[in-house]
């Protein structure tokens, strides 16, 4: 049975000391969909993300990728299976050039990682691929800049570039627009849309910007206090009373 579901979490929980960050969450991600996870601060979105990407093991529960149990598989093996992740806090190789940052990611997918006596630059395939990715994320002309000297917006693009260069099937975006100004956001949304549609990829998105989430996602899951509050299309979520309360609290209630 080749199911429509690419990633599935079953009864996932994560407890930090006395704090239940993620509480018995079950979620299904459909293939080729854009699935957003939203929720107020401290709702457990990033923890859920870390569980899905394998950064930390869950206290209980299971993660299934293409019906295969990956709960206890290391992040590097998940990457090889086709799960890519970007970070909320910019996470790049700061002292390497933009090209080298992306080239390294491209190299990870090949079989030349243990060639110790050949020049890395003589493997043109990875460089060409990196240049393609640089073009996609809109960093053309910045290839030779040392990554730490890039302005914030371009660092975010580089972050995406590193993830895309691994050619994953499932993309996990952890607040891709974090810290970006409103003018920069539409460009990033375009890039994300392009990347996802380019190869019929699936994307999971954690995001704060409601406008962005509403416009690009197919399905939205709302989390609050470690639990799933609601799930549905953007339209359904926008009209969900519970969600409105969770987001806007009593103030909204008073006004309404």
């Amino acid at each position: 049975m080749t199911s429509d579901i690419i990633l599935e979490a079953v009864g996932l929980s994560k407890v930090f000391g006395g704090l239940v960050a993620v509480d018995n969450v079950s979620i299904q991600i459909r293939r080729q969909s854009m699935h957003a996870i939203i929720g107020p601060n401290g709702a457990g979105k990033t923890t859920l993300f870390n569980l899905l990407s394998g950064v930390m093991p869950p206290t209980t529960g299971q993660v299934l990728y293409k019906s295969q149990d990956i709960t206890h598989i290391s992040p590097q093996k998940r990457a090889a299976l086709g799960i890519g992740r970007s970070y909320q806090i910019t996470n790049i190789f700061p002292n390497l050039t933009v090209l080298e940052n992306i080239r390294l990611a491209a190299q990870a997918t090949g079989k030349d990682n243990f060639r110790m006596f050949k020049l890395a630059d003589s493997f043109r395939g990875y460089i060409d691929r990196a240049e393609g990715v640089i073009d996609t994320v809109g960093l053309t002309g910045r290839e030779l800049v040392i990554a730490r000297n890039l302005p914030h917006g371009e660092k975010r693009k580089l972050e995406l570039g590193i993830m895309i260069a691994c050619d994953p099937e499932l993309l996990l975006f952890d607040e891709p627009t974090a810290g970006m100004s409103s003018e920069q956001v539409p460009e990033l949304i375009n890039i994300i849309n392009k990347v996802v549609q380019q190869k019929e990829r699936t994307a999971i998105l954690v995001e704060h910007r409601m406008d962005m989430v509403m416009s690009i996602s197919d399905t939205i899951t709302v989390m609050n206090q470690g639990r799933i509050l609601a799930e549905g299309s953007p339209h359904e979520i926008a009209n969900n009373r519970q969600v409105q309360t969770a987001y806007l609290g009593d103030l909204y209630g008073e006004l309404a």
């Binding site: 990407s53 950064v55 290391s74 992040p75 590097q76 093996k77 990457a79 090889a80 890519g84 992740r85 970070y87 996470n91 790049i92 190789f93 700061p94 002292n95 390497l96 090209l99 080298e100 080239r103 390294l104 990611a105 190299q107 990870a108 997918t109 030349d112 990682n113 243990f114 060639r115 110790m116 006596f117 050949k118 020049l119 890395a120 630059d121 003589s122 493997f123 460089i127 240049e131 290839e143 030779l144 590193i162 993830m163 260069a165 691994c166």
Partner: protein, 372 residues
């Protein structure tokens, strides 16, 4: 469009890239002949012999410092136990040459035609043993880096190398290792004897430096080397794009350990002895100082650092007497303060300023000439 910024493949391009280093090697090769011509003392005697001795120590320590740079400069791994590999290589060589080689030579004779190559065979086997021991020591350190990071990891490497140090100083093994006094009077074949055939050892060490430098340079520019640099830059990110940091750290440790092991073996040939100091933390710290002075992550930097350190050790005692470490300490502080990336590293970052200033000076000179 990017082509001219990429490292060009091919032998010609490699020679062109490393021309500075190759010229340096050539000059070093000619140097003893130059000193002989100036002073009239033969290659294996007098002043010529003395200066070769100084340079041999420098060449060997340069390789050791470079191997340390592989770890700290490229891999971002701060290990205080690198002397274990250096001393491990030295002791493996010394112990086997002293206790095993004579027995082997008594019982077997390997002939190639009419030439007796037994000594060569023994040397080769001993070097293979050095290789094996270096790999094992590298793997031990790699194993400790699986779970520990930063300071904790540095402390554990210090502890492991201290364990080796104590083992080699243990009086229980006095009859084999010589404990505190070390192992002296290693029987070496005449052609390899540093007192009788100084120039041979000189050439061997020079070639050793050249080969090790070129091989290491190749490695750091290889796909594997680039991933090792990624480990220095951002371990989590590296994991997330599908590399296992532990594997690449193990590669860095083992390669660094092999180079350190061989430099240790050569050092014990050169001194015809092996002493516990070679395994002590002081040796690691020396390599660290050389690497910092020359410039971390530059590979050629540690060579400069080793040269500076050799000059200091040779002259500071005569110049400053027993107070020389104080002067050296101040000098080291000045280097760290004003050349924070070491001599080579700072030059790479700031060199354009000097070049620009020089250009301005030349322009000024030209303008003056045109006016006058």
């Amino acid at each position: 469009m990017l082509d001219k910024y990429l490292t060009k493949p091919g032998f010609g391009a490699a020679v062109k890239r490393e021309r500075g280093f190759l010229i340096f090697i050539l000059l070093m090769f000619i140097l003893p002949f130059g000193i002989r011509a100036l002073t009239g003392s033969g290659l294996n005697e007098g002043v010529t012999k003395f200066w070769q001795g100084q340079l041999i120590t420098f060449f060997i320590m340069a390789v050791f410092a470079m191997s340390y740079d592989l770890l700290i400069g490229y891999g971002g791994i701060l290990s205080f136990g690198h002397a274990a590999s250096f001393g491990g290589g030295a002791y493996t060589f010394a112990l086997l040459t002293k206790w095993w080689a004579p027995r082997f030579l008594e019982s077997y004779r390997v002939m190639l035609g009419s030439v007796n190559i037994s000594e060569g065979i023994v040397l080769l086997l001993i070097l293979l043993a050095v290789l094996a021991v270096s790999i094992i020591i590298g793997l031990i350190f790699a194993a400790t880096s699986i779970r520990l990071k930063g300071t904790y990891f540095a402390m554990l490497t210090l502890a492991i190398s201290s364990a080796f140090y104590i083992l080699i100083k243990a009086t229980d093994f006095h009859q084999w290792t010589g404990a505190d006094e070390g192992l002296h009077g290693i029987p070496l074949p005449v052609w390899l004897n540093p007192t009788q055939n100084r120039f041979t050892i000189y050439v061997v060490s020079l070639l050793f430096l050249m080969i090790c430098y070129l091989v290491m340079r190749r490695m750091v520019n290889s796909p594997t080397g680039r991933v090792i640099v990624a480990n220095r830059e951002n371990e989590d990110r590296m994991r997330m794009i599908g590399y296992n940091p532990v594997t690449y750290r193990a590669i860095a440790f083992v390669t660094a350990s092999i180079f350190a092991g061989f430099s240790g073996a050569l050092y014990s040939i050169w001194n015809m002895s092996a002493s516990p100091t070679m395994m002590s933390a002081v040796t690691t710290v020396n390599a660290l100082i050389m690497t910092i002075m020359g410039g971390m992550g530059t590979l050629i930097g540690p060579v400069f650092g080793a040269a500076i350190s050799q000059v200091i050790q040779q002259f500071f005692y005569t110049w400053f007497g027993a107070r020389w470490p104080l002067v050296f300490g101040i000098l080291f502080m000045l280097i760290v303060m004003f050349l924070p990336y070491g001599v080579v590293g700072t030059w790479r970052l700031q060199g354009w300023k000097v070049k620009q200033g020089w250009q301005r000076f030349l322009d000024l000179f030209k303008a003056k000439k045109a006016a006058g």
